[in-house]
Each structure stands twice: as C-alpha cells, then as structure tokens.
C-alpha cells in the first residue's frame, strides 16, 4: 500500500505512547462550570440567561445573530451564579456564564433523539448543527454550520475528513475513531447529505493502524466513503495539505477549500454532528488529551465544556514538581499559557500538554546561515528565511511580496532552524501587520 503524503514537512517524533492506549474516561463534572460566550472564531454570543436562573444540561445559554458565530449551551444542570469573565485559550479575557452544579444531570426538554433523522433535508441538518453550537473541534473552532453552506457557485464534491492528528502528543482524535467509528461514519454521511457531496475521503496517519482498521470496518458498506492511510508527517492534518493529499487539488491562495469543491471536517466534529442530528445533544462535551512529562498521570478524559483546567490537572494526579510549560493543544501550534487559572475547557480544546524544565529549552537567536532547511520543509513552498529577514527589518511590504499571508503557521520552519530563529512567530507578525495595513487602507477610503 502506498501512503499518501505532501511535499515538505517535518518528523518531530509523535510522543503519543503515553495516552494512545488509554480509553477515554468521563471526567468528574465540575462543581462550577465557566462557559465562555465565545468559544469559536467569529462574533461572541450574548447571554440568554441571568444570574439566579436555573438551567438544564443542554440548554442554550448564549447566542448571536451574526452569521459567523455559534451558540453555547449549559454542560451541566444547576444555577447561574455569575456572568463574569474568564480567560480564552489565546489569553484574552472573554465573557462567561458561571453555573453552579446541582449534580442532578437533568437534561433540557429540547434534547431528545430524532427518530426521523434519515428523512431530514440538507437545510434541516444545517439548522440543527447551528442550534447545537458545533464548531471545528480540531482546534480552529470555526462554526461548522457556516462551512456547511458553501457559496452557491462553489458546490462541494468531496468531504475531506481529518483523522490525521499530526500534532505530536495528542490522541483525542485517535481515541474517538477507535471508540466511536460507527458514529463517525454516521456523522460523515450527515455532513455529505448537508452539502450534497458525492464522496467522503477520510485520511488517517499510519501511526494509528488500529484507528484505520476500525474506521475502514465501520465504512465497509459505504461505497462513497473511502478511508486512506497517510504517511506520518507533520503537518499532514493541515486542511490545505490534507485536501491536496487526498484529492490532488491545491486550494488557491486566499481561498477556502470550497473553491476546489472540498469541505474539510475533523473526525470529532463529524461525531458531534451525529450526536446533534440523531440524538439532539448539543456540543457540550469532548475528549481532551492531558499529557506530557509534566503531568503525573496522562489521560484521555471525556470533559464537559466549561470545566476548569485546574480540575483536570488535579484529576490527572497534578503537575510534576518540575513542570515549566503549559500548552493548550499540541506542541507545534498550541499556545503556551501563563498558568491554568481561570481557564475552562472549550469546544476547541483538544489537549493540555505539560512540559518539564528539561524539555523547555530557551535558545539564543542566531544569525541565519542560509542553510535552506526552512525552504525545504515549508509545506506552502514559501521562503521562511526571506520572510523573517523582511520582518527583522520592518519591511512588511517585502514580506507581503514573499506571500507572508499564505503562511499556515504550522511551525515547521522554526522547528528545523539550526540558528533557532523564531521564524513562525515573525511571519505571524508580518501577517498581522499586513492585515492591519489593509484595514487601515480600507478605512481611509
């Protein structure tokens, strides 16, 4: 069997052995859940509840009229004790609804299985997905319902299902594919129906042979769903790269996958779609991989949205004494945080990675020796060294000419650089500057 892959990329080692064999177990529901009103890219929600209100599990507690947004739901039953703020994964302060748990686990009346789900139309599926607050659960947290309505002139032919999980350490997608392959296939069929796609292509890296086998078996009777083993290489699970690997088509610069008739969805998102459409359960819980040498007992936990990260750390035995870095997500793209306080699990939290003193290295930035390794590994075929030197000299127009905005910030260039230059960070700065300059120019007109 030939393995599909892309050009460029790196092999950082997978570090998955600590948790890949550990089935997900339900975490203790939090005593107080802090549910951020913005857990997605797009407009934040307005609260629909007030302090003192009693809420039930699955009840919608925040919504917005904006098209790019997703409602949020109570993940426990209990009483609203505060509408305050907490921190987001990016370190920003966001509004949140604080619910005190009554531990009754009373479901809201709207949460009920839909026996006629097979008769639902595409529009009805999209509506259910929106109401369930489903967002991309691979980490980007883009509202899913918005992606399910592609532009009229860009019909979707392929649904690309991302089971690559190329970030080292993380195993939440791996576990979900092993534990719920039938629901995954069901979710994929629903997504296909919603966008009227002909085919679904599920891509899984070959370091997860058991997941490939499980999903292949579950999809055995589905002629329109193909499962593909992919070469284990970072960033195999990047939307654009996966798209090209599975269909041979490149997503044009500045466009979404829909421009080439594709829709990329993460496996966990597909399962959330199945949960919402067939069982009426909104997006209130997900698997989180808590791992790294900085945590005493690495685990895969099934966690309610809004659970404070501090409680999860405790449930995993706590930090080791030499813990020095806390990362939300994987080590290649996840942000490092100043601490676990005031930070809840959101729909996009796929992992919590704790690194120890010995693993946290600080490097002196040295001059570029033009070895060209960043050029070799860049999956977007950019020139990271030229982009970085443009940023060093504040020449953002030059960075734009070298296509800074096409950078996917995968981190391969920084990873490989022998001069330990923070290339990804600098290119990220260029992207922000270029976008800001465009906004200023538009405002001036």
């Amino acid at each position: 069997m030939t393995l599909k892959t892309f050009k460029g990329g790196v092999h950082p080692g997978d570090y998955k052995s600590a948790t890949e064999g550990k089935p997900s177990v339900a975490a203790k529901p939090p005593a107080v859940a802090m549910i951020p009103l913005s857990q997605h890219s797009g407009a934040p929600c307005e609260p629909l509840v007030a302090v003192g209100d009693l809420v039930k599990k699955g009840q919608k507690i925040g919504d917005s009229d904006a098209s790019i947004s997703a409602p949020v739901h109570a993940s426990i039953s209990g009483k609203v004790i505060k509408i305050g703020t907490c921190r987001s994964s990016q370190g920003r302060t966001v509004n949140a609804v604080f619910i005190e748990n009554d531990f009754q686990e009373t479901w809201h009346e709207d949460v009920k299985p839909n026996p006629n789900w097979e008769q639902l139309s595409a529009e009805e599926i999209v509506k259910i997905v929106r109401e369930a607050g489903i967002v991309g659960m691979g980490g980007a947290a883009f509202p899913t319902h918005y992606k399910l309505v592609p532009p009229a002139d860009e019909p979707i032919k392929y649904v690309i299902v991302n089971g690559a999980e190329c970030e080292p350490y993380l195993t939440c997608d791996h576990r979900v594919m092993l534990e719920r392959p039938d629901d995954l296939v069901l979710g994929v069929k629903l997504v296909m129906k919603a966008v009227k796609a002909e085919k679904a292509l599920i891509g899984i890296e070959d370091n997860k042979p058991d997941a490939i086998a499980a999903v292949t078996k579950a999809a055995a009777n589905e002629p329109n769903i193909e499962v593909h083993a992919l070469h284990t290489k970072y960033p195999q699970g990047s939307g654009k790269q996966l798209n090209t690997v599975l269909t041979g088509m490149e997503v044009p610069s500045g466009c979404q996958s829909s421009a080439v008739g594709c829709l990329v969805q993460n496996v966990t998102t597909c399962i959330a779609v199945a949960d919402a459409v067939c069982f009426g359960v909104p997006s209130i819980e997900r698997i989180v991989t808590i791992t790294g040498s900085g945590i005493k007992e690495p685990k895969n936990l099934l966690v309610r949205v809004g659970t404070p990260i501090e409680e999860l750390i405790e449930e995993c035995g706590g930090f080791t004494d030499d813990v020095r870095k806390l990362i939300l997500g994987g080590p290649m793209m996840g942000p490092a945080l100043p601490g676990p306080e005031d930070l809840p699990v959101t729909k996009g939290t796929c992992g919590i990675l704790c690194m120890t003193e010995a693993e946290v290295k600080e490097y002196e930035i040295q001059p570029c020796i033009k070895c060209g390794k960043c050029v070799e590994v860049c999956p977007m075929n950019l020139m990271p060294l030229f982009l970085a030197s443009a940023v060093e000299h504040n020449m953002y127009d030059k960075a734009e000419a070298y296509h800074a905005v096409d950078c996917i910030e995968c981190g391969c260039c920084s990873y490989i650089c022998p001069a330990k230059r923070p290339l990804t960070q600098w290119i990220g700065m260029a992207k922000a500057e270029i976008k800001a300059a465009k906004r200023r120019a538009a405002a001036a007109k």
Partner: protein, 301 residues
C-alpha cells in the same frame, strides 16, 4: 505553591541541531581528507592545517571578543577549508595571513556569520594566489616528497587510481577524491548538503571534459584532478554563500562547472575552481530570487 510557567511562541519542539552542531558535522566530514593529507604529505600538512585553523579561530575570537575560542565552530571550518586549498608546506606566515584575510575580509567585514557574500576560505585563497603566486604553487610529490607539478599542467598525467586515492601532487585537500567523497557522505546523511550543487558541478565538468577533452578519460580526469572535488563537495555547498532554492542550487552548481571549465580551457590559470565559485557566490542572491519555488495554491495572474 506559586508556579512559574514559561510563555513562548509555538512551536514548542525544536530539533537538537544548532549552528555549532552543523559546523562540527562539517569538521567531521573534512576529517578523512585531513587524514589523507597527512598520510600523503607528512607532518608538514598537519602543521599547515593546525596553523590556519588556529589562526582563523583566534582572529574570530578576538573580533567577537569571544572567550571561547571555538565559538560556533564556523571559524574552525573556514580555517580548515583554507588549509585544504594551500600547498602542503607553505611558509607559516602565509597560513596566518590567509586565515586572517579569510576571517576579516571574507567574513567579519560583512557582519559575521551568515552575512558574507563570498566563501571566506576562497577569498583568502584568491588573495594569496595573486600576492604570493610562487608559494601557492610549490607542489611536492606525495610519493617522494620532492617538488612536482600539479597534474593539470603536468605532461605525464597520473593514472586515475592515483588521482582517486590522492597519491598525486596538489593542494592538501585536492588530492584524494576518495577521502573527500567519503567525508561528504556524512554531510549528505545529516542533510546539510544535497545532490544538486555537487551533482550540477561535477556533472557539467565531466560532460565538458568528455565532449571537449578526450572522451571518457578526459571527463574522469577533469572531475578527479585539481580542486573540483573539494570545490563541488565542500566549497560550493557552503550554506551561507550558495542558493537556498532547489532549482537555484542546481543552476549554481552548473554555473560553477561551466566557469571552472572555461578557465581550465581558456584562462591563464591552470585551475579555475576558486574563481568559478567566487563568481557564482556573487550571483547567489540573484539566483535565489529568480528561482523562487511556485508556492502552494499560487494562481496565475
């Protein structure tokens, strides 16, 4: 307990490779050629290598006010590479002057590591060649250690086996093609060089030798004699002064090969490797910008 967490930008994983480890890899790769030089030319070769390497490291340490004389290892590489381009037993002061020129004029005046346009060792060799041509061309025969001519101007050319193993007159690092190839395998293995520059360079030299200078024997003679092997494997592949794009690297190698052969056939010098690589070094930024890869998702304008 108050815990302090390090906040830094992703990625949080890095390779263990540093500039220093890359430079050490280059030194390791040069070791077989250095040993071969000592075997063929005796202790004088060792003295030459020690003087140039040490002088280069000392010069750089003084300029950078660096207490650790090895520093990032790049000066040692420059010094040893320079020794490879010198005759086996030059006067000691020639080695020192060469090393100082390499570090000061070849590298530090541009701003130090990574900023130089030309290969520092070759800048020094070029300066020494025009200043002390006599010293720079006093070859000794590795067989009986008497003076001899470089095979490129000699009327009774050595056999291929001799050229390949290195039992022939020439600069320290020019003689043994085998030792150079053997060392370069390490650089290939570590991913510091790829086939494009050496392939383009040696390919063009071989083809032109084959076509214009006596067929297969001519082709083989041209890649095994003089500084071509050293140049193609260790000088043209210098990271700082060669292109970073894949196509650019191939063009760079081809250009080096063409200029080398032009000088060998039509120039006043018997050997053209130094000037070929220096000329192509000057074109490197241009080559890079003319051979930018097609970026992912690029749409025709």
């Amino acid at each position: 307990m108050e815990r302090k967490f390090v906040v830094s930008s992703s990625p949080h994983l890095r390779t263990d490779e540093t500039i220093k480890s890359v430079m050490i890899d280059v030194l390791v790769a040069l070791t077989p050629a250095a040993i071969a030089a000592v075997i063929f030319f005796g202790y004088r070769a060792l003295i030459t290598m020690v003087i140039t390497t040490f002088s280069a490291m000392l010069t750089e340490a003084i300029i950078l006010r660096n207490k650790n004389i090895f520093g990032d290892g790049s000066a040692a590489v420059t010094g040893l590479l320079l020794a490879m381009t010198l005759p086996p037993a030059p006067p000691w002061w020639l080695c020192v002057v060469g090393a100082v020129v390499a570090i000061v004029l070849g590298k530090q005046v541009y701003g130090g590591i990574g900023s130089n346009i030309f290969n520092p060792a070759l800048v020094a060799r070029a300066v020494l060649m025009v200043s002390w041509a006599g010293h720079m061309t006093s070859w000794i025969s590795p067989v009986d250690l008497t003076s001899t001519a470089t095979p490129l101007v000699s009327s009774n050319a050595p056999g291929f086996l001799q050229l390949f193993t290195g039992a022939t007159g020439g600069c320290l690092g020019e003689t043994s093609a085998f030792a150079l190839l053997f060392g370069a395998v390490w650089l290939f293995y570590k991913g510091h060089i790829n086939w494009r520059i050496p392939g383009g360079y040696l390919g063009v030299v071989f083809l032109l030798g084959l076509a214009l200078d006596g067929g297969l024997t001519g082709g083989l003679f041209h890649i095994l004699s003089g500084g071509v092997m050293l140049g193609a494997l260790f000088m043209a592949t210098d990271m700082v002064t060669s292109p970073v794009t894949t196509r650019g690297q191939l063009f760079f190698g081809i250009g080096c090969g063409l200029i080398t052969m032009l000088i060998r056939f039509y120039g006043n010098y018997p050997e053209g490797v130094t000037y070929a690589i220096l000329l192509m070094n000057a074109l490197t930024p241009l080559i890079d910008n003319l051979t930018l890869p097609r970026k992912y998702g690029e749409v025709a304008k």
